[in-house]
Symmetry: C2
């Protein structure tokens, strides 16, 4: 089993895309995350939906979580404003989750070992510096356990 046979298309965004647009896509498609590339389409990292949520939590609340219980509910009101005009790159946390990369002819075992090593549930299949598809952990299990 080659990596490209397991790979699936996966939504991709760039570091410069408007964060509100990306957050709406994550919400609408109920995606756990999206692949982020640089302006040249080279894989950069993953933006998880949880990182978007994190960006929306005010910093004073991070220091005193008990405030979340007493503050007036303005989360939904603030959310779109907070994301609008912000490039995706600003939402990536201090240490962005580096997107692990495999070659199209890597074996299922190489993909699994890469997932293991990087502790990342998504691996990008890359040809000529471009992301051609993604293998998720559950997709890999599908090929390991369900395909004859």
């Amino acid at each position: 089993m080659r990596a490209d046979a397991m790979a699936e298309p996966y939504p991709v965004t760039t570091l410069e895309t408007d964060a509100l647009e990306v957050a709406r896509l994550l919400a609408k498609e109920r995606l756990p995350g999206i692949v982020v590339t640089d302006a040249d389409g080279r894989p950069h990292s993953i933006l998880g939906a949880a990182q978007v949520v994190r960006f929306l939590v005010p910093s004073y609340m991070r220091e005193d979580p008990s405030l979340a219980a007493v503050v007036d509910e303005s989360f939904a009101d603030r959310a779109a404003d907070a994301l609008s005009g912000v490039p995706v790159g600003r939402l990536l946390t201090e240490r962005p989750v580096e997107l692990p990369v495999v070659a199209p002819d890597d074996t299922i075992l190489e993909v699994a070992a890469t997932m293991d090593r990087t502790r990342c549930p998504l691996v990008a299949v890359v040809v000529n510096d471009q992301v051609t598809g993604v293998v998720t952990a559950s997709r890999l299990l599908e090929f390991a356990l369900l395909k004859p």
Copy 2:
């Protein structure tokens, strides 16, 4: 917006369930993870599909990843055998990902702050020690950005 209005049913397993059964469910439903409870149904942790993959990578390969490229492809052959008869609890890594918990009447902001604090993209809504549903990060974004 209350936590229970956002919560959705989410597949649940226990620490004692056979790992092969759970891995097949993750593969078949293409789930990124599953909620693990103890024998009494109390929330314990999350088992991500990537942790199952990790369990399937032989330890000698973890020490020398280059071996993955040269070893004969036996991953799919070994996978079902390696998981069969193993309780889910054994697949949880050294430090299991603790499942963050909220009350049904917690606000969207409290759920977001909990997600932020725990760095976990899944939050369980718990009533009387039982998981009644789960809020994912993308679900939370849906309510923050798409629901009027």
